[in-house]
């Protein structure tokens, strides 16, 4: 087990290295010149060159990469060109905002989808099954930004139960997820984020459960005299490797694809930050944000792999 974990962790190092190369290269390939954006139209060519040298953008690309990588490794992702603030702090703050609501959303989706999936598979073909399928299909099909707007209209405008947007007066600093006066700002973004994964995971849970319930060993369990509940515990444990993989995938999807939801709710997360960085051609900020997101994605996959090997003893072998 520990050997497998160690091997799997070592294997992520070259992946992360590749991630830095791609993050750096992609931004360079994209058209546009950040220096031109910063300068006033009247600035001379010499001014532009001086500014370029100040940001280190005059050196050859490989050299720029090595310098950038060296700094990234010690936690320095440079200064934002647009704000002139350290990128690291800004990205990490935004990332915290994103990952916390994404994790809450995906855990809620995971728990509910397991319950729904079990209920649907147990009463396969019945009314409960059909109702759950309907909810799942709704979750999969509804665009999150539309859902976000509808939630705002119902709960913020009509009912005035929840605040419509933002993180409240304190903003991102000092936001306390444990106090209701702060957390209520996060409720609607979490619901909007949770619904699509809930739909997808309910469907996959249901189908993999009915597959497992048709396997021979389930009959053995019944023949041993286990109750239907105990049989279901065995079956649910057997779908967990697949369910955990799906959970990791959905979490990755949420942290990378939260641009729309964060825009609707003006939630200051990475999606929001990414949007801003692209519009202002803020290369250090863009690189930093992408790097943090990609790294998070790789680490989530690592955790999923380790969790799977904990559940399924057969995985360690391969």
């Amino acid at each position: 087990m520990w050997l497998y974990a160690l091997r799997r962790i070592i294997l992520t190092i070259p992946i992360l290295f590749g991630v830095t190369v791609i993050c750096f290269a992609l931004v360079q390939i994209a058209p546009g010149d950040p220096i031109q954006n910063l300068l006033s139209p009247t600035a001379s060519q010499a001014d532009a060159e001086r500014l370029r040298a100040a940001y280190g953008l005059d050196k050859p690309l490989p050299v720029q990469y090595v310098i950038w990588l060296g700094k990234v490794l010690v936690g320095d992702m440079g200064m934002s060109i647009a704000n002139n603030t350290p990128v690291t702090g800004e990205v990490l703050r935004a990332f915290t905002n994103t990952i916390v609501i994404a994790m809450i959303a995906v855990v809620i989706a995971f728990i509910l989808s397991t319950i729904f999936g079990v209920a649907a598979a147990y009463r396969s073909g019945g009314l409960v099954d059909k109702a759950i399928t309907a909810v799942a299909v709704f979750g999969i099909s509804v665009p999150t930004f539309w859902l976000g707007v509808i939630l705002v209209i119902i709960f913020a405008v009509n009912l005035s139960w929840l605040p419509a947007t933002g993180m409240g007066a304190g903003g991102s600093k000092g936001f306390d997820y444990l106090s209701w006066s702060d957390f209520r700002f996060a409720v609607m973004p979490i619901i909007a984020l949770a619904l699509p994964p809930l739909g997808i995971m309910t469907r996959t849970t249901r189908s993999s459960l009915s597959e497992i319930l048709n396997q021979d060993f389930v009959q053995t369990l019944r023949a041993k005299g286990l109750s239907e509940f105990e049989v279901m515990v065995h079956a649910v444990r057997n779908i967990m490797p697949a369910a955990v993989a799906m959970l990791g995938l959905q979490l990755g999807y949420l942290i990378g694809g939260s641009v729309l939801v964060e825009t609707v709710f003006t939630w200051p997360g990475t999606g929001y930050l990414l949007n801003k960085a692209i519009l202002t051609r803020d290369i250090p900020l863009l690189q930093g944000t992408i790097l943090v997101l990609a790294t998070a994605f790789v680490l989530i996959n690592l955790v999923v792999d380790l969790a799977q090997s904990l559940i399924d003893p057969r995985i360690k072998r391969s």
């Binding site: 021979d216 053995t220 369990l221 003893p313 057969r314």
Partner: protein, 371 residues
């Protein structure tokens, strides 16, 4: 010893009361498209400590009949009729709660595929201990100790290590032994074995078979053993039932059925096994295939493949003919001659083969082509 002072319950019962008594069992699977009549009136008795071998080809209803004894079929789509008495319980009518108490303790089952019959995510020890804890309310430690004893009982080498092993870490033979350990964990009175040796290597097959026979004798279990291997049946059985299209068409002691087969199907099946014949003599195969269980004909279900068919065979299924030694066959050509069953093959075409001539010719042609 305690056993000496307490009255022996099985002895106090009259000898005529068998431990297992199945009467006119009928099982059909109902779906929107069709009704499959898998078992069509099976009746047999089994005494305590006896082994009944159920023989038949695929689709003869032998496995379905076995699974009915534990009511393992999906409730919604299955209709079970008739009575299945095991000890004092009628399996067909007991409540689900009583049934789940009987399953794995009084009646337990071994399945054909050791590869897929165990949960891949639980250790062997866990799967044995789970059954013991469920039925005997033992604690964790005690259940593990029992699991270890059971692995020793089924002769698994280095049992301490195997307790912590997962099914995929064991060979097929060891897995089947583990499966047997699970089945025997609560000292069942009736063991149902559904082709337990079919998926194993020939050498392992014999070992498992000998083990089962020994344990069955030691624990004085009744056993119903489904197989399509006549050699296996000869090894292990006290009684043999031959099934065809969901009915028992011949029944009797192992010596009677295998040495003096009466029903044309049993005769043909015995003729199709490899014995001491010369290599050049082609093996006899039973031509044709078993009937469609969705649309069974009125008459004898073996009729289309029978070499001795007569017009009356198409009218109704023959009733049972039983002799003094309780050898039974269901065929119009089987009659009583003194105290024994006798097969009347006199109206045979010259040559007296167990298959119709045209089919034999067809088979010879096929063999010639493949040679």
């Amino acid at each position: 010893m305690n056993d000496m002072t307490t009255p022996n319950l099985s002895g106090s019962q009259p000898l005529a009361t068998p431990f297992v008594s199945v009467k006119d069992l009928r099982v059909r699977f109902v779906s929107r498209e069709a009704t499959v009549r898998a078992v069509n009136g099976v009746t047999f008795d089994l005494a305590r400590g006896e082994v009944l071998c159920v023989i038949g080809e695929s689709g003869s209803g032998k496995s379905v009949m076995m699974r009915s004894l534990l009511r393992l079929h999906p409730k919604k789509r299955t209709v079970i009729e008739g009575s299945m008495q095991v000890g004092e319980h009628d399996i067909g009518t007991v409540s689900d709660r009583v049934l789940s108490k009987l399953r794995g303790s009084t009646i337990s089952m071994i399945f054909q595929e050791p590869m897929t019959a165990l949960d891949p995510l639980y250790t062997i020890g866990d799967q044995i201990a789970e059954t013991v804890r469920r039925h005997e309310g033992l604690g964790r430690e005690a259940a593990w100790a029992r699991a270890l004893e059971l692995l020793e009982l089924v002769r698994v080498p280095s049992p301490e290590r195997r307790l912590k092993a997962y099914p995929h870490e064991l060979s097929g033979g060891l897995r089947q032994r583990a499966m047997i350990a699970v089945a025997l964990s609560c000292r069942p009175s009736l063991l149902l074995a559904d082709e337990p040796t079919t998926a194993l290597d020939a050498s392992v097959q014999i070992q498992v078979l000998v083990l089962l026979r020994r344990l069955q004798r030691e624990m004085d279990m009744s056993m119903i053993f489904v197989t399509h291997d006549l050699g296996v049946a000869a090894q292990i059985a006290d009684k043999v039932a031959v099934m065809y299209a969901g009915r028992i068409i011949e029944y009797g002691s192992v010596g009677d059925v295998l040495n003096r087969p009466q029903h044309p199907y049993t005769q043909a099946m015995l003729a199709s096994t490899v014995k001491d014949q010369e290599r050049v003599v082609p093996l006899e195969a039973i031509a044709g295939s078993p009937p469609d269980l969705r649309a069974l004909p009125e008459g004898c279900s073996f009729l289309p493949r029978c070499a001795y068919a007569e017009p009356e065979c198409a009218v109704a299924m023959p009733s049972e003919t039983v002799d003094a030694s309780r050898h039974m066959a269901r065929c119009y050509r089987v009659g009583l001659e003194g105290k024994r069953l006798a097969f009347n093959g006199s109206a045979l075409p010259p040559g007296g083969r167990a298959t119709p001539a045209p089919m034999a010719a067809e088979r010879a042609e096929m063999l010639g082509r493949s040679a």
